[in-house]
């Protein structure tokens, strides 16, 4: 469990995980995870299915609060403050940490414009010029603007799968979150849409910090700067095996299990 901070470039830390664990009804799903997420970089979490990557990701924006049987232990520090502290307002937290889901999920009763504006409107922003600016800039950043600028009031369900996912990325970006969580965002998309979104991630780091869960390790190798490898233990709980810059993980990992996974010895 090495936490490797590249000291040659002074990157600051966007989010810190300290011994984080998630359990459901007392049974641990993932435990003892510690690493730092560097600001304005892409950090990926890889590992075979069942290793707890998605469960861990959802703890980062307190999505497990919606589940009565879930319990999160450890500390998750955003700007030095534990996001699970009593004084933290979850609605404020979630406006600073955005999320994109595995399947594109635009709101079906809203148009493209309204979907992207949804986060802004939820947060009480009403000024049209402000919303216009945020909608346009996030659609541009998500590389969707050119395709939809003339039909912003069309229902979101009319877009293709890849377009819908880019819409969801724009929707999450519109409120300017510090961190963007992505849960296997290209898993349900065709190869062309997948590569479009992968290209996108490079530009995203200009505006935010990306944490992405992916079961496709080649994708992790292509898009991420740092990589966390998780694996399910004998007691069926996920554990962090190694955290290092992506280069290191894929070329000379410290742990043998990491090497085995990279070489496809198990999936």
């Amino acid at each position: 469990m090495t936490s490797n901070v590249d000291t040659s470039v002074a990157t600051s830390v966007a989010m810190s995980l300290r011994n984080v664990g998630v359990s459901f009804d007392g049974k641990s799903a993932v435990g003892g995870v510690t690493f730092d997420v560097a600001r304005n970089r892409v950090t990926s979490m890889i590992g075979p299915s069942g290793s707890g990557k998605t469960t861990l990701l959802r703890a980062l924006n307190r999505l497990h609060d919606l589940n009565a049987s879930a319990k999160v232990t450890g500390e998750i520090l955003l700007d030095g403050e534990d996001i699970y502290a009593r004084s933290v307002s979850t609605t404020e937290l979630r406006s600073r940490i955005g999320m994109v889901f595995q399947r594109p999920n635009p709101f079906p009763s809203m148009s493209i414009y309204d979907n992207v504006a949804a986060g802004l409107r939820f947060n009480g922003i009403k000024k049209k010029s402000l919303i216009d600016e945020a909608v346009e800039s996030s659609l541009r950043v998500s590389a969707l603007w050119d395709e939809v600028q003339n039909r912003l009031d069309v229902m979101a369900s009319n877009l293709s799968g890849g377009q819908q996912q880019r819409l969801c990325i724009a929707r999450a970006l519109a409120i300017g979150p510090e961190i963007l969580l992505m849960d296997e965002p290209t898993a349900s998309l065709d190869p062309i849409s997948t590569s479009q979104i992968e290209e996108l991630m490079g530009t995203l780091t200009k505006y935010t910090t990306v944490i992405i869960v992916t079961h496709n390790m080649q994708q992790a190798a292509r898009v991420s700067d740092d990589c966390a490898f998780l694996l399910m233990d004998e007691d069926r709980a996920g554990k962090l095996i190694e955290f290092a810059p992506t280069q290191k993980i894929f070329n000379n990992p410290d742990d043998e299990r990491t090497l085995d996974y990279i070489n496809g010895r198990f999936g």
Binding site: G124, D132, E133, A134, R140, I175, Y207
Partner: protein, 308 residues
């Protein structure tokens, strides 16, 4: 888009303003959300109170009638304006209801189930028409069935007020319900059943009769039970045509009483004893309907499990 400027990325001022406005508005919307989190269960409570009052009154006021065997065995007798008891029982209404509903089932089940199977297996013009007819009729106000009973059976066919008239009215009520539910039941049988039968060389009709319909049996029975449960409680179709004579009979062409009709006259009765008895009849009806519905649900759950 209002102005001509193009935005490529969120500027610092915009980000700051978004932060500022959202921080300012946050408290307000969280308060609003908490208020609604209280109002919604209040609506639940508001809805629950009258319904619970209904159940409580039924059980407390009606329970004492159901506890006595005389309620079921004795014939209704004339009450006095002053006494609260000794009004006899409702035996003739129970037997009357059973006779009417049984006849209604005999009339409606064969036609309804068969028509339902037809709908499940055919896409002819007749099928499309029938489907529209069935779904329209299943929501029709039950008083119209009463009008039909009077207009056709009594006046045209000159059949005297009897259980039969009530049975026909109820049969018309039950027909669409049974047909629609049977069509659904048959369509729910997985297509693999039919494919397997056809693959063994049997013809379509044989596969239907020997494989599909038996497989849908539980669901169809459940549908019939639900239709009966509905028919037992209906008042408007039968109250004017069954005759209201307090005699138990097996001949459907004799006049009879029925539980809902007796309940109807009890509610409006000047005698307090009969108004109290109304609760007993009401509870009896509700229990009967509950038992039938519960059994129907069990059977349809069994059918669903078989196919999963």
């Amino acid at each position: 888009m209002s102005n001509t400027a193009t935005y490529t990325e969120l500027s610092e001022e915009t980000r700051a303003e978004i932060r500022r406005v959202s921080d300012a508005k946050r408290q307000g919307r969280l308060v609003r959300s908490s208020i609604m989190k209280v109002l919604a269960p209040l609506a639940l409570l508001f809805a629950a109170v009258p319904l619970i009052s209904l159940l409580v009154n039924l059980i407390s006021k009606g329970g004492r009638y159901l506890a006595h065997w005389s309620f079921y065995s004795q014939v209704p007798s004339s009450p006095s304006l002053f006494s609260e008891s000794s009004i006899g029982g409702v035996s003739t209404a129970i037997t009357g209801s059973l006779l009417i509903v049984l006849c209604a089932a005999v009339l409606s089940v064969p036609i309804g189930v068969t028509a339902g199977v037809y709908l499940a297996e055919n896409e002819t013009r007749l099928a499309k028409v029938l489907r529209v007819i069935a779904s329209t009729m299943s929501g029709a106000p039950s008083v119209l069935m009463g009008l039909f009973a009077i207009g056709f059976l009594v006046v045209t066919l000159k059949i005297q007020a009897s259980a039969f008239d009530g049975a026909v009215a109820l049969a018309i009520l039950m027909l669409p319900v049974i047909t629609i539910a049977t069509e659904i039941a048959v369509r729910n049988v997985p297509s693999t059943y039919r494919e397997a039968g056809l693959a063994l060389g049997a013809k379509k009709a044989r596969v239907s009769m020997k494989v599909i319909i038996p497989a849908a049996r539980s669901a169809i029975m459940s549908a019939i039970l639900l239709a009966i449960a509905r028919a037992v409680g209906e008042t408007a179709p039968i109250v004017f045509v069954i005759g209201g004579v307090a005699k138990t009979t097996l001949n459907p062409f004799n006049p009879v009483q029925a539980l809902p009709a007796l309940l109807y006259s009890d509610i409006g009765s000047p005698y307090p004893a009969l108004r109290n008895e109304a609760w007993g009849i009401g509870l009896l009806l509700v229990l009967f309907v509950f038992v039938l519905s519960f059994t129907a649900r069990l059977w349809s759950a069994r059918a669903a499990r078989k196919f999963s």
